[in-house]
Every structure is written in C-alpha cells, then in structure tokens.
Amino acid sequence: MKNGFALFLATVVALGTSWCGLVLVPMLQLGGEKLAPILNSTATWPQPRTGEATLGLQVYRANGCAACHTMQVRQDGIAVEVLLTSLGSAGSEDFKEFVQSLFFLPELEKITNALAANLQDWNGALPKVLLTTDRKTVADEMVQRINAAGVKSEVRIVATGADMARGWGVRRSVAADFLYDNPVQLGSLRAGPDLANIGVREPDLNWQLSHLYAPKSVMPNSMMPSFRYLFTIRKMAGVPSPDALKLKGEFAPAAESEIVPAAEAKELAAYLSSLRANAPLYEAPFTPTQP
C-alpha cells in the first residue's frame, strides 16, 4: 500500500464483506422469521409470555443475570429408543425369554449384548427403555416384533448430550426460541446453570422467589448472590400477606415480620417460569412425553 487511497479501499472492502456476511445476510435470513409450527400439533412456538413475564425480562436485563447464566442448551446428537409401556398379559420373565428368542434375528444381531445387559437386572418396572440406538430401522423392527407378541412399546426420538442428561432441556436451543425476547440474552458463561427450561425444572413460583431472596435456602451449595433488594422486610400487619415467602430455619424472618417480594421480584419469577423450551420443532425434533 503505497498511498492512502489503496489503504482506505482495502479497509473498506475487508470490513464491508464481513458486514454483508455477518450483519446483512443474517438479517435477511432470520430477521423475518415467523413463529415455528410445533411438530404434531396445530400450535406455534414460542408461546407468548404474560405481561408480567415480559416485564421480568427487563428485570433479568437490568440485574445482568446473563453474566452468569446461559440460555443455550447444547445437544450432541439424536438417539432412537424403544420404550416399553405395557406388558399386556405377559409377566416380565416371560417377556425376557421372548426378547432372547429375538436375538437370532439378523437385524438385531449387533445390539443383542446391550439388550441382554439392559434386561438382566430388570424387575418388571414400567415404563422401561429397552434399547437406545442411532438406527431407526432397528428400533422399528424391534417394536414391530414385540408389539406383535401383545406387549405395548413405542419408538421415541430423544436428544442426547450432557445438558439433556442434567435435565436442562429436551432438545437443543434453536433460533425460534428467542423470537419474543428483546434484548436477546444468550449468555456466554455458566457460573450458574443454564436457564433455557428453568420454568419446567422449577415451576413453583415460591421456589423461584425463595431462591432469589436466599439462594442457599433451596440450593445449599449455591454461589449466587442474594437479590434481597428486590424484597421488602416489614412488620406483619395482622394477617400475613399471601405473597410472603415461606422460609425456614436460619433464613426465616424475625418473629412478627415477613418478607414480601417487590413487583420486580414477582416479574422476574414470572419470567423465569416462562422459560420452558420444551416443544418439538422441525429443526430440533424429539418425541414429547405424553402426560
């Protein structure tokens, strides 16, 4: 670069291409994203939040919760499992014998060891995951054979990964999950657990509020600081407030006083309860558990 103009041009081209690639194209591709259809359902995703929960997102932002919490569930892959739901008229020992008679089928040859080990210590408790595999044809074959014998079983698609094993989600997070968020706060550090489905894990509002006021009261080895400035401690006026926290032991308020959440604390708890990434989508399928 001998002169200033060449330098200017190189800089503008370099930054311009990345601007087009990482700002403009994502806007065109994702900026007009619509609500996603939930698989095997007429509903769409994400479901709208209540007004209180929408305000709670702003409390989440104001207090920088995303400094320690992510909302991104990671998934390693997908597996197919055969879930046994009913034995029909057969006993569990009969069923074991029946399954062993299937071991000689060429389709099931590769999974016999896993299947045998899985069934060895089984006492007949249901529902039982008979088989986890990455090949759907094997699972289908298995279900077809054993259902023909009068038991009930089904093929289920499950997402796999450490986050799923921890119960932090049933599938990975996808772009559609964040359509109603502004600002979108994905977080980049897990000093605390992922919150993508905290509303499924801890649906109890009183749990959420107690956790915000005194984290150690519900999670003994929590490192979260208390958010007691979102609560008021006041003298009890005759009847206790219905909102008052039910804390026990060292966390309980002094006699004749109660701890009441301020509006912000209630909004934040409502927002946390609204985080329930649990709908199967085209881009992240799984078989939901039937209630």
């Binding site: 930054l15 104001a62 400094a67 991104q72 964040f178 999670m219 929590s222």
Partner: protein
C-alpha cells in the same frame, strides 16, 4: 522510512501541539483503568463471599461485571489508543497535530460518555447486549467524540509532510475507520426502537464484539508496537513485506470471527467463523516472526522500561490470539464453551496485550511530548514487575478453572454446582492477580497524575506571570 530516536527536540511545535490532547486522553484513561479494575476486584471478591455488598443493587455481580469490562475497554483502551495514534501520526508525518483543540474537546466528551454509561449500567439501565451495555445517550456521546477525534487524526494523516506510508499507518488508519462503522452499525440496529427479531441480535453483537475486542485492539496495539519497538530497539522493523501480508490477512480473515460454535443460529454462521479463526493464525505467526526478528539481538536491556512493556504486550497478543482462534474450533469449543475460558482470553487480550502496549507507549511518549522526565521513573519498573505476575496470576488460574469445568461438565453424574465448586479455588487465586493488577494501575495513574498536575501548575504559573508582568513602556504611556 525508519523512525529513529530523538527525531526532534522535546520542545518542538509538534510536541507542544500534542501535550494537551495526550494529557486529556491518557489522564482520563488512567482514571478509568483504576475504576474498572476496582469494579473488577469487587466482582472477584463475590466469589469468595457471595453476600459481599449484595444488599446494594448498584453493586450486584451482574451490573459490576459489565461496568468493569466497559470501563477498561471504553474508558481506558480506546482513549489511550487514540492518544498514541495522534502522536504516531504527527511523528511519522513530521508535522504538528492538526486542529489540536478538537481532540481535547473530544476527549472530554468521550470520558463524559463513559461516565454516563457506567453510571447507567450500575443503575440497571444496561442495554443487555454484551460490550454494548451503554444506553443510547452514552453511545451518542462516544460516537460524536470519536468522529471529532477522527477528524483531527485524519487531517494530521492527510496533511503529513512525509508522504510515504509506514506499516503503523496502515494499522492505525484502519482502526480509525473501523470503530465508527462497527459502533454505528451495532448501536443503530440493536438500540433502535425496532431492533431485529430473535437471534439476529446476538449475531450482530458477536460481530461487533469480535471487531472491537479482537480486531480493533489488534490494529491499534500492533500499529503502536510496530512504531515503538523498532524505535526503542534502534533498528528498522524486520520484514516490512510481511507487515503488509499480516495487515491484510488480519483484516480480511479476522473480521469474520466471532460466532461461537454452539450458537443457536444457522450452521453456516459458526462454520464461517471457525474457518476465519483458523486463518487468523497466519497473521499471528507473521506478526510474531517480525517482532522476534526486530527485537532479538537489539542490545536493549529489558529491565522493566517501555521496551519490556511492549515486548510483553505483543507476546500477550500472540498468545491471546492463538487461544481465541482455538475457541472457535468445534473440538475445543465443545469442552470450553461457557467455561471461564472466554473470560480469561478476553482479560488476556485487554490487560495482557493491549494495556501493556499502551503503558509502554505512554511511558515513552509522554515525557517526550511534555519535555520533562516522568515524576517517578522507578515506579515504571515496579509497575512492570507487579503487572506481569499479576496478569499470570489472574489469567492462568482462570484457564485451569475452565479446563476443570470442561472436564467435569460432560459427566451428568457430577452435580453442576459441585463441578463449579471444584473450579472455585482457582477463581479465588485469580483474585490475587486482580489485586496486583490494580496496584500496578495505581502506579501508572500516580505517574500520570503528578505529571498532569505539574503541567497544569506550570501553565497556571506562566499565565499568572504574564498577567503580573509590568506593561511595556510603550503601552504604559497614555
């Protein structure tokens, strides 16, 4: 053109024009560095005692951390770099600073913007976008201040008497164009009344953060190092051809990094970033090679002066860049994403690389511009020998904590809180490093403040003398 030592005498018009802008930019930067590191220390202490200051909403962890990071990046790194840039443009162009009053006004506007932004974050008015937490009013102040500064810098660049361009010019001029573009894009999209929906927001945020924290700091820091290292070593920059190669590969590849591998976005975005992250190893190797060739055998003893600061800073850049590149590689990112790795790499980039280069530059150019020696030259050496172990003690335990977390998280049998508790002792060690870094910053600030106060007193004295001086006879007569 080869920069050589003692190009001009200390009291030249060039230096006189730079005194006030440099003091305004670097003096304010020193204040923000101390403030930012103090806030960082408060955040660090919360890992020893979560209840520390937890009753105070202003100082809750989630507000202190972005305030601390922004104070260091926007308060210290950018104004310090702009001061050094003005100096280098003036020196390389062999002319005094153009419009010298403009940067002084701009510096004050900038620091006002940072003050407003930090106060707003602590009050809970952060925007919620990483590295863009400052609300609109502060962002407008910062943008205006930068454009004013850019006018003065571009005029100095355009009216330069020495027409040939030196490698430092490329890096610093690109930095001058880079910031307004990325900062306006990010703010106009994310802080507008109708921001883009869904994950486009974090995508723009990641693009901005990469272009500011990695690319902009690299351009400004390496541009400064390419000017000062040869000057301090007393020999030309080795391999100027490689410099062009490093510059072009850095801006063309580096600007595509930033989208994390596991992000919930279309897969082509993280894939593009992963390829770019691999390619930035090319400029990193080129820069490392050039700097090693330039400083090796220079015969300058390294006892903790500006030369040491800048040499250490470049080493910090290469290390931080390699770790940054690794963090986009899917194999590493599966293990290290969401651990303390990202925090450690960012702090290495801000403090281990950029702050070190800026310290060296400030210690070198301020005495020249002011025409006086540093008030406490011994503290410079002490600063270096406190800061280096401070950075090691801050960053290395965080990396170990990250590996510990990455090892335990995949095993769902280990409770998450237990896995994080295992990493906690390393976090606690890193607080000692934060304390050393804070002390080092105090030493830096003390040198700068005493210098600034003495300069202002001298100005005041000469002003008073001019007022008190008896009128010349010609004017005294009616």
């Amino acid at each position: 053109m080869k920069p050589t030592r003692n190009m001009t005498e200390a009291t030249s018009p060039m230096d006189a024009s730079l005194c006030a802008p440099l003091l305004a930019l670097l003096g304010g930067a020193a204040v923000w560095l101390v403030v930012g590191l103090a806030l960082g220390l408060i955040a660090g202490i919360k890992f020893h005692a979560p209840e520390f200051l937890s009753a105070c909403p202003l100082l809750t962890y989630g507000r202190v951390v972005p305030a601390a990071n922004d104070a260091v990046l926007y308060g210290f790194c950018i104004p310090a770099a702009l001061g050094v840039m003005l100096w280098i443009f003036a020196r390389l162009g062999r002319m005094p600073l153009a419009l010298p009053l403009v940067p002084v006004v701009a510096a004050n506007l900038w620091h006002l913007g940072v003050l407003l932004g930090i106060v707003e974050i602590l009050l809970g008015n952060s925007t919620g976008h990483t590295w863009l937490e400052f609300p609109r009013a502060a962002a407008v102040l910062l943008f205006t201040a930068f454009m004013l500064m850019a006018i003065s810098a571009a005029a100095t660049f355009g009216w330069r008497r020495e027409r040939s361009l030196y490698p430092s010019h490329w890096f610093l001029f690109a930095a001058l164009l880079w910031f307004p573009w990325i900062y306006s894009t990010a703010n106009l999209f994310l802080l507008s009344n109708t921001p883009p929906r869904g994950v486009v927001q974090p995508v723009i945020g990641w693009w901005f953060a990469n272009n500011l924290v990695f690319i902009w700091l690299a351009l400004a820091g390496i541009g400064t190092a390419f000017y000062l290292l040869p000057k301090l070593a007393g020999r030309p920059l080795a391999g100027s051809g490689h410099a062009r190669f490093a510059f072009l590969t850095l801006i063309f590849f580096g600007t595509w990094c930033g989208i994390p591998a596991g992000a919930p976005v279309p897969a082509w975005l993280p894939a593009a970033s992963a390829v770019a992250a691999l390619l930035i190893l090319v400029p990193l190797v080129a820069i490392a090679g050039m700097v090693i060739k330039t400083v090796r055998g220079a015969g300058v003893s390294c006892l903790g002066g500006p030369f040491c600061f800048i040499k250490f800073g470049v080493a910090g850049f290469v290390l931080s860049g390699v770790l940054y590149s690794a963090s986009f590689c899917p194999q590493f990112s599966r293990v290290l994403e969401f651990t303390w790795f990202g925090v450690a790499q960012t702090q290495l980039q801000l403090l281990g690389f950029f702050a070190m280069v800026m310290f060296g530059a400030a210690y070198e150019i301020l005495p020249r511009a002011m025409g006086v020696a540093l008030p406490f030259p011994k503290l410079v050496r002490l600063h270096f020998w406190i800061f280096v172990p401070g950075i090691a003690l801050f960053v290395v335990p965080l990396f170990i904590a990250a590996v510990e977390q990455g090892r335990q998280w995949p095993d769902a049998g280990v409770a998450f809180a237990d896995a994080n508790h295992a990493a906690l002792k390393y976090l606690r060690i890193s607080t000692a490093g934060q304390l050393l870094i804070f002390l080092g910053a105090l030493l830096f600030a003390s040198n700068l403040f005493v210098m600034a106060i003495r300069w202002k007193l001298a100005r005041l004295k000469s002003l008073m003398a001019a007022i008190k001086a008896p009128l010349p006879d010609a004017e005294a007569k009616p």
